[in-house]
């Protein structure tokens, strides 16, 4: 049975349709990559999956609970089973890395401080930051911040781990390290992982299945091999990096020709 089911999901902002009747099942224990270009609606879909926004119509069922219609207390309970690593890491700057990871443990559990300390150390060790717990977010590099965000997202051992653009703003080596971390976490903790990205190497490294979004609808959903072999024009354009509106050389030449005949050009 799918851990997340999206049915006929429609999202509109100011009358503009962003997501148009999406349907998707994410199976327990799989890594689903939501792939798509800028403005395709992948981050909007993610915000709806984690319950930050409510859709215009349709449903998103997580562990049998419809996020769009559940009560505030149900949503709160559900959120404890979802860990999110944001694109900007979203660590609290006023707290040390250790306290960032400990926050949900202190707030949602009755564990003794010494046990919390131990769990925090373990989570930081998993992401390779065991020696950096006392530092504040502003003292870390971009890659370390993202890893700290992963440690915080894992604090309550969630069933579902969500990554929003994990490789954004990172150099290829650090991005590859983060990909390996995602693969390791999935294998070690058997979590369901959802990753939003537009980075092709990253997507093909970590995904079990890929859902390709274009203008608010899924162009294609399938395994890595199915997506690679897809003959869908939008998928092919994305994979082959073909530009949408290439600058037309004659049009550019005509523009400059016209400009050279204006008075401003002779000033």
């Amino acid at each position: 049975m799918a851990i997340i089911s999206i049915r006929d999901l429609v999202v509109e902002y100011d009358g503009r349709r962003i997501l148009d009747g999406l349907n998707l099942d994410i199976e327990r224990g799989e890594t689903m990559v939501l792939l798509g270009g800028s403005g395709s609606g992948k981050s909007t879909l993610l915000r709806h999956i984690i319950g930050l926004e409510r859709p215009k119509s349709g449903s998103i069922t997580v562990n049998g609970i419809d996020i769009a219609r559940c009560s505030a207390s149900e949503l709160k309970k559900l959120r404890r089973s979802i860990g999110v690593a944001f694109q900007s890491a979203a660590l609290f700057n006023s707290l040390s890395i250790k306290d960032n990871v400990a926050l949900t443990l202190r707030e949602h559990t009755a564990l003794a401080p010494s046990i919390i300390e131990l769990i925090v150390w373990m989570k930081l060790a998993v992401v390779g930051l065991a020696d950096f717990g006392k530092l504040h977010p502003q003292e870390l590099s971009g890659g370390m911040k993202k890893r700290a965000a992963v440690a915080r997202a894992m604090a309550l051992d969630p069933e579902i781990l969500v990554f929003d653009e994990p490789s954004a703003g990172l150099d290829p080596i650090v991005a590859a390290e983060l990909d390996e971390l995602i693969v390791l976490l999935k294998e070690a903790f058997h979590m369901t992982v959802i990753v939003v990205t537009h980075e092709l190497p990253s997507a093909f490294r970590i995904a079990d299945r890929i859902a390709m979004l274009h203008k608010g609808t899924f162009s294609s959903v399938g395994t890595k091999d199915q997506i690679r072999a897809s003959d869908n024009p939008r998928v092919r354009q994305f994979l082959d990096r073909v530009p949408d509106n290439a600058a037309k050389a004659p049009a550019v030449a005509a523009y400059f020709e016209k400009y050279l005949h204006t008075p401003e050009a002779h000033l």
């Binding site: 930050l52 959120r79 999110v84 944001f86 949900t104 707030e107 949602h108």
Partner: protein
């Protein structure tokens, strides 16, 4: 004409929307305040409230004291220049004592706190919004009202009246110095005249005003932060807006409360 009416209508609706949002936020924060209280609330929130009290109250103390001393001198000098003509120089004592306890102590403090802390609230919350920290709180099943707003409001409710009392003391002290140097009135006698001229209700009305001002400053600052949309430039705009709007609303509230006390509390 139609455009003018449309503009008036749009502006009225926008201002009503703002006041409505302030009221909703105030009510939601009041409901979340229990968590920020000592002994019965969450100890991490209380710790945060104390940290805020230090920032709003203790850090503002030198500035508020200096403003009160300068204003006390100005009030005494301006009053003396007129009262001297009628041989009523000793009424300067009443002017300064009653003026500060009823009005100037609370107003000067509110203006200082609005500039220091109102803007800081807007900047802090606005930055948290831009960097997705508020979203991170929500997905960690933590309420931003309880986590961010309640400690700030509680701290303002305690710090601003305390600062107002200190402002009253320094303002009256400045009046005493003026009287000592201009008429050689001894400090003990000055204190006696001060205590005879002010009544308990003067102090109470001043304190009621300072509680209202604290509410306005905390909520306008927080609401401006929560209304940040987009990037860092928007944080700058919301910070300026927080100071302008809270100072304006403090003066409007001051006029309303002064009128209420004038017509309801008879001497």
């Amino acid at each position: 004409m139609a455009t003018l009416l449309e503009d008036v209508g749009t502006n009225t609706l926008s201002h009503l929307d703002y006041v409505g949002s302030l009221n909703i936020q105030w009510w939601a924060t009041l409901r979340a305040m229990g968590s920020a209280l000592p002994f019965v609330g969450n100890r991490y929130r209380w710790r945060e409230s104390v940290r805020q009290m230090l920032q709003i109250g203790v850090d503002a103390l030198p500035m508020v004291a200096l403003m009160a001393i300068c204003s006390g001198f100005i009030l005494a000098l301006q009053g003396a220049s007129e009262l001297r003509r009628f041989g009523a120089l000793y009424f300067v004592i009443d002017l300064v004592a009653v003026g500060f306890t009823r009005e100037l102590g609370a107003l000067l403090t509110a203006i200082a706190v609005s500039g220091r802390s109102g803007s800081a609230f807007a900047a802090e919350i606005g930055t948290m919004k831009v960097t997705e920290e508020l979203d991170a709180l929500k997905v960690m099943a933590l309420e931003p009202m309880e986590f961010v707003l309640a400690p700030k409001y509680l701290a303002a409710l305690i710090s601003v009246p305390c600062l107002s009392i200190i402002s009253n003391v320094f303002g009256i002290l400045a009046g005493g110095l003026f009287m000592f140097f201009s008429t050689h009135l001894m400090p003990g006698l000055y204190l006696h005249y001060v205590l005879t001229s002010i009544q308990l209700r003067d102090v109470l009305t001043g304190l009621i005003k300072s509680v209202v001002f604290a509410t306005i400053i905390a909520h306008v600052g927080c609401l401006e932060g929560l209304r940040v949309r987009g990037g860092p430039d928007s944080v700058g705009r919301s910070t300026t807006s927080a100071v302008v709007k809270s100072t304006f609303l403090v003066i409007v509230a001051d006029a309303v409360f002064t009128a209420i006390f004038y017509f309801t509390v008879k001497s």
